[in-house]
């Protein structure tokens, strides 16, 4: 293990975090609500730890895959801990457990909150809370890689983090890793900017539109209001947010191709077609259920149904209605939607559409081969190209590990806290798939404040596991990973 190299990357990570705190410092200075000093102190502390690490352990250290995994797994923990400082210093979230949970939830783009009354928190801290989405959405480490000296290290970290921008076929659109990451960030920030413009045009204040844009494009779900997007009760904002949640769930590489007018690449993209299909199916069915049941009139059914389905499918977790009051069939549908993430290479988490595509195609072929055509050749094609066997196995493993995490994690939650089975399981789904709100006592009208510290630590870890797409966060529990 190359501890010097790891220290160097961690130092860079802390410097980037400290630098990122300057934006909320600015907001705090404008609003003047007593959160300026805590934010400034935190920024200074973060840089004060990071700078010596970066300077002392100068570059030229090559990192192997193991080091990259260690960085990916512990990097998120370190920055979440440092980022929780402003809340503790200010006192709006006094407990470290709570603040850490809130920040981990922010960086992993989960959006599960322990704040019962969000609106009393000063604007600077609220901005910081939403900004963690902005940083985490594209993968905090990808941002750091841009600041690392050139070399293979960045590439390995990029792989270990399972950052957005990577698709399952491991295709890349530029020759250099750093260029690819820079393009992804440009696309990501442009989407954010575009949404801010749309929201401001609809009459939302700049502060609110920034916070909501951060929470939408990164498909995370923090809102500065207790009632989330429901606070506005405006069809225009709902539809704008639906649009950008949808875009946040599209493979970002496709935006690059769209900008270059390479429509062919987009046309043959298998995952995008399935993504649209899934959305149309679930939105249509939910709308119909709501309308048939008489919950809303048709237009409202379409609006609330679509919003909730898109919000849960893209793992955003914004809410406009308390869906626990909806007909049971619609609720069941939403639980199903929780298990589907959007496209790989987007800002979303969970089990991606591509995993289902691969597993489905493999399953259909395998059944055919086993039961009625033993001579059939098993091949899975994505984007008109055959997929490697390894990718197929990985997809299947990924799906199975997810299922076991949900069942096992649900058991752990029920064991740690006095809760019913639905709450236990859905809290793990909400954390693991980085969604945010779940069902039962962690539903849209509730929050995670009442869960015991042990439960919060477990959920925070679950969020990280989900964000790193399982394997990077799980291999560190293999004893042989540490031996050598």
């Amino acid at each position: 293990m190359n501890s010097r190299g790891i220290a160097f990357v961690m130092g860079t990570l802390l410097l980037v975090t400290g630098g990122a705190m300057l934006a909320p410092v600015l907001v705090a200075a404008i609003y003047g609500e007593g959160d300026l000093i805590p934010l400034l102190i935190s920024a200074v502390i973060s840089c004060a730890i990071g700078l010596p690490l970066r300077l002392k352990f100068s570059h030229g250290n090559v990192l192997d895959t193991r080091d990259a995994i260690v960085i990916a797994a512990f990097g998120w923990i370190v920055i979440s801990a440092v980022s929780s400082l402003p809340f503790i210093l200010h006192g709006s979230i006094p407990s470290f457990t709570d603040a850490f949970f809130e920040m981990m939830s922010g960086y992993t783009t989960t959006g599960a909150t322990i704040l019962t009354d969000i609106e009393v928190v000063p604007h600077g801290l609220l901005f910081w809370r939403s900004q963690t989405h902005l940083l985490g959405g594209m993968g905090f480490l990808t941002l750091t890689i841009i600041f690392l000296p050139h070399g293979v290290a960045g590439l390995r970290i990029f792989r270990a983090e399972s950052s957005p921008g990577q698709v399952i076929t491991r295709e890349r659109f530029t020759a250099r890793n750093r260029d690819a990451i820079t393009y992804l960030w440009v696309i990501y920030l442009s989407l954010n900017l575009l949404q801010v413009i749309f929201m401001c045009a609809g009459g939302m204040s700049l502060f609110d539109s920034l916070c909501h844009a951060f929470g939408t494009v990164s498909t995370s779900g923090y809102s500065p209001y207790n009632a989330s997007i429901g606070h506005y009760n405006s069809a225009y904002f709902d539809w704008v947010i639906i649009l950008f949640m949808f875009l946040g769930g599209v493979t970002f590489m496709l935006f690059y191709h769209a900008a270059r007018r390479e429509w062919q690449v987009i046309r043959i993209n298998t995952e995008l077609r399935w993504y649209l299909g899934f959305l149309a199916f679930f939105c249509g069915l939910t709308t119909w259920l709501l309308w048939r049941d008489g919950t809303y009139d048709f237009l409202d059914s379409l609006r609330y149904g679509t919003f909730q389905v898109v919000s849960l499918l893209t793992t955003t977790g914004f809410t406009t209605a308390d869906y626990e009051l909806w007909p049971y069939a619609a609720q069941m549908l939403l639980i199903m939607v929780c298990f589907v993430g959007a496209c790989a290479g987007s800002t979303t988490s969970g089990i991606k559409v591509i995993h289902y595509v691969v597993i489905w195609k493999f399953m259909v072929g395998a059944i055919k081969k086993i039961f009625f055509q033993p001579l059939a050749v098993l091949s899975v094609r994505i984007n008109e190209l055959p997929v490697d066997k390894g990718v197929v196995y990985l997809s299947i493993c990924y799906f199975i590990v997810n299922v076991f995490m949900v069942l096992g994690g649900g058991f752990v939650m029920v064991l740690l806290d006095d809760m019913d089975a639905v709450t236990g399981m859905s809290s793990v789904v909400a954390a693991l798939m980085n969604i945010g709100p779940g069902f039962g006592d962690v539903g849209p009208s509730e929050n995670f404040a009442w869960i015991s510290p042990a439960g919060k630590w477990f959920l925070a870890w679950t969020m990280l596991v989900g964000r790193l797409e399982m394997f990077s966060a799980l291999v560190i529990f293999y004893p042989s990973f540490w031996r050598r």
Binding site: G60, R176, L385
Partner: protein, 463 residues
């Protein structure tokens, strides 16, 4: 400086992989097209390059690779024809520079109807020919001593093996320079075990090391004496093991000057070669057996060249031959015996040279260096890759305001164990650099570093 080029590489075989690694280390944007997923999977995560799975002979693949934006094409697939057609396609797409590996020698004969220009290739790479010529150069010019001319022949680098009795063994480099202060020389890199070391003053030379020493040309004979390398030999007898492309080419080049014996395992091939090589004594037998080697007259030889298609056989033949010689030192009246091994795998290069092969050559590395030299021309004055090491020797001009001009060499940080400035030239010719040397803009310098630090050298010296 540090101009970044867009480079398209066809084929991720030995040369392709090695080149892609080296070029991406130097900051170029690399795209690789390869047909087989296994090679791609191995490279994924190790290579900062865009990897495209596809057939170089399909047009969609070129489109996908964004070929129109490329500055260089390097066609190094296994197939000569694919490489040639690749260059033609690249030319049609407007890629300025085309480099292609074409193994077949017959295509480039003097009066051949098809010239490289006709198929739009700017640089033809023939790895076997490069290896054969390098072996011949080493044997012809320097009696088997590994010597590189640099700075237009004013300075030279000599490779030598340190054994138990060597006057250099067991000393720190700093002590050596004090002990032999009547002429300057500098140890610029050492192969030890499986590592390449760029030594600092505290490094101790150990028996078994293969060291490269830089000195001014007029001091060369003194260095050779010190290293106990015979500086001149009238007659040189060569035995070649393996009559493949490289072996037969070496024989063809050398047979006019030296007595050459070639051992080939395959009877038919041996017979065929005996017709082609008029002045070479052809033997049929297995060169990996000591008995065969002795029968073939190993003890009368001065140099053995192991050039079979098998890496392990080549290394082992050299090691065995060296040991046989040691045992029978009396019969061989104490003369210096040399071995040259052709080794393809990168991992083996350093190990082979510390195990006993005096010169370790790799077709792949030679080919890659030829290409690198071509791409770098103008940027670095000249480049040599030290045989059997992962070390580079470059000549460059110190830039205005470069970091290296700020302090004397001794006090420049971050270079220890990575980069050595071996020599420099100001007004009156070349000098070996010492710790107190303070470089100025406009000086020419010779730097030695491991391949992955070449970029650091550039930023340090060029500014």
């Amino acid at each position: 400086m540090k101009k970044s080029e867009n480079i398209l590489i066809l084929g991720l075989g030995g040369v392709g992989d090695y080149l892609a690694k080296r070029l991406s280390h130097e900051g170029h944007a690399i795209t690789v097209v390869e047909q087989f997923p296994d090679a791609l999977n191995r490279a994924d995560g190790e290579l900062d390059a865009r990897l495209i799975r596809g057939d170089a002979m399909s047009f969609s693949c070129w489109l996908n690779a964004d070929a129109k934006k490329m500055d260089y094409l390097i066609a190094v697939t296994d197939d000569d024809a694919v490489n040639i057609i690749g260059s033609l396609i690249a030319d049609r797409l407007g890629i300025r520079q085309k480099i292609a590996r074409v193994r077949s020698l017959a295509l480039w004969e003097k009066d051949a109807p098809l010239k490289a220009e006709d198929v739009k290739i700017d640089l033809v790479i023939r790895p076997e020919e490069l290896a054969a010529r390098e072996i011949a150069r080493l044997l012809k010019l320097r009696a088997g001593n590994v010597v590189f001319d640099i700075a237009g022949g004013q300075m030279q680098v000599v490779g030598t093996r340190i054994d138990e009795t060597s006057p250099l063994a067991g000393f720190k480099l700093l002590e050596l320079s004090q002990k032999y202060n009547h002429f300057y020389f500098r140890v610029v890199s050492i192969a030890r075990g499986i590592n390449t070391i760029i030594p600092s003053g505290d490094e101790v030379l150990l028996p078994g090391d293969n060291a490269f020493i830089l000195a001014r040309s007029e001091d060369l004979s003194k260095v050779l004496d010190l290293a106990r390398e015979p500086s001149d030999e009238a007659r040189h007898r060569v035995m070649i093991v393996g009559g493949g492309t490289v072996g037969s080419r070496v024989a063809a080049i050398l047979e006019k000057t030296f007595p050459v014996r070639l051992i080939e395992r395959d009877a038919a091939r041996a017979e065929e070669l005996s017709h082609q090589l008029k002045n070479t004594e052809l033997l049929h037998g297995d060169g990996s057996e000591v008995k065969t080697l002795l029968e073939a007259g190993l003890l009368e030889m001065d140099t053995i060249v192991a050039a079979t298609s098998d890496n392990e056989t080549n290394i082992m033949s050299c090691v065995m031959a060296k040991n046989v010689f040691k045992d029978k030192a009396n019969e061989a009246d104490g003369k210096r015996f040399r071995s040259i091994a052709l080794v393809g795998r990168e991992e083996y290069l350093v190990a082979a040279s510390t195990m006993g092969a005096d010169v370790v050559l790799s077709k792949k590395v030679l080919a890659a260096n030829e290409i690198l030299k071509y791409i770098r021309r103008g940027e670095l004055l000249s480049v040599a890759h030290l045989h059997g090491l992962e070390a580079e020797l470059v000549e460059l001009v110190v830039g205005e305001g470069a970091p290296i001009t700020r302090k004397p060499l001794l006090r420049i940080e971050g270079t220890k164990g990575k980069i050595i400035i071996g020599g420099y030239s100001r007004d009156n010719g070349w000098q070996t650099a010492v710790g107190t040397t303070h470089l100025q803009p406009g000086d020419k310098v010779i730097a030695v570093c491991t391949s992955d630090h070449l970029r650091d050298v550039q930023s340090l010296v060029l500014g």
